[in-house]
Structures are given as structure tokens and as C-alpha cells.
């Protein structure tokens, strides 16, 4: 029962990932692609939590900690570059 709920959650999240990928591949300006990149990193954190639930290993959550800490570094770097800074 709970497994089926996790499957449905993973499928819906995968559809959201595909939407963000479409915006990343198409996006007219550079900032649109950066928004899609930010969304994809958060969707990836959800993927990691789902993988950890499916495998039953708590050690996989450390990767999600690293993601949540470091994923905004690239966004800040490209935003400062677009703003003529850095």
C-alpha cells in the first residue's frame, strides 16, 4: 500500500522533472535556464529521498544534505556573472 503511494509520488515527480528539463532545453533567455536548473536540483533532492526510502538505507540521505547545501552555489555564481559582478 505504502509502496504504491511511493511509486505514484515518484511518477508525478518525474513528470515535473520532465517539465523543468523542457524549460531548460528551450528557455529563451539565460535566466530562464537558471530557474529551470534551480527547480531541477530541488526535484533531485526529492528523488534522492525516494531512492533512500526504496532501498531502506539511511546513509543515502547524506547526499541530499550535500545537495541542499551546495546546489545554490552555482545559481549564485551565474546570477553574479549576469549582473556584471564576481
Amino acid at each position: 500500500m505504502v509502496d504504491i503511494l511511493i511509486y505514484i509520488a515518484a511518477a508525478v515527480t518525474g513528470i515535473a522533472f520532465l517539465f523543468a528539463l523542457y524549460r531548460f532545453l528551450k528557455g529563451p533567455t539565460a535566466a530562464d535556464r537558471v530557474v529551470a536548473f534551480d527547480t531541477m536540483t530541488l526535484v533531485t533532492v526529492v528523488f534522492i529521498v525516494i531512492i533512500a526510502l526504496a532501498e531502506g538505507r539511511g546513509i543515502y540521505l547524506d547526499v541530499a544534505v550535500i545537495y541542499a547545501l551546495l546546489s545554490f552555489l552555482g545559481v549564485i555564481a551565474v546570477a553574479r556573472y549576469l549582473e556584471r559582478g564576481l
Binding site: 535566466a31 530557474v35 526529492v46 539511511g58 553574479r80
Partner: protein, 110 residues
């Protein structure tokens, strides 16, 4: 089949629904600032709901999941605000009918 499992599954489903709505807004919204609002706020809520659901499913991972939620809650608004400021300063095209009070103030008092 415990009560925690049912609550956790429903929380994870609602979080996935918010992520789906964020992706739909990312595709359907007309210009950058609307896409930024859809792609950042809704995604933060969806991720936090999913983490809460996982904490209901496996209560022994709750500390680590709380840490992930705190980091997301700290870092995601920062990146969103920096990106919106960069896009506004470089003159990103806006949708028709946008009321830009900040640009009007900049023109009024340089």
C-alpha cells in the same frame, strides 16, 4: 499498515502534486518573473512536504530530514532573490500588462 504510513504517504503525494504544479507553471507562465515565482515557492513547499512525509514513514531518519529541510529553507530564498535582482537589473523582457513599480521609482528619483 500503520497510521503513520498512511499519513506519510498522503504527505508525500501532496508534495509531489505541488512539484507537478511547479513544473506546469514553469512551462506555461509567460515571462521570467512569473516562472521564477512558480519554480521557487511551490518547489520549496513541495520538497518540505515530501521530507515531512518521509519522516512519518521512517521516524528514525527524522533528524537528518529536518536538517535537509532547514538547509533548503535557508538557501532557496537567497538564490531566488539574487536571480530576480540580476534579471531585473539586466532588463529582462516582461509580459504585457506588467506593472513595474521599482523601475518607476528608479526613473522618478535617480
Amino acid at each position: 499498515m500503520t497510521i503513520g504510513g498512511i499519513i506519510g504517504g498522503i504527505l508525500m503525494l501532496s508534495g509531489a502534486a505541488f512539484l507537478f504544479l511547479a513544473g506546469l507553471g514553469l512551462v506555461r507562465m509567460p515571462d521570467l518573473f512569473n516562472r521564477l515565482q512558480a519554480g521557487t515557492k511551490a518547489t520549496t513547499l513541495g520538497t518540505l512536504l515530501t521530507l515531512a512525509g518521509a519522516a512519518c514513514l521512517r521516524p528514525d531518519w527524522a533528524v537528518k530530514l529536518l536538517l535537509i529541510g532547514l538547509f533548503i529553507l535557508f538557501t532557496n530564498p537567497i538564490s531566488s532573490q539574487v536571480l530576480a535582482r540580476a534579471a531585473h537589473r539586466t532588463g529582462t523582457p516582461q509580459a504585457a500588462g506588467t506593472v513595474d513599480r521599482l523601475a518607476e521609482d528608479r526613473e522618478k528619483r535617480p
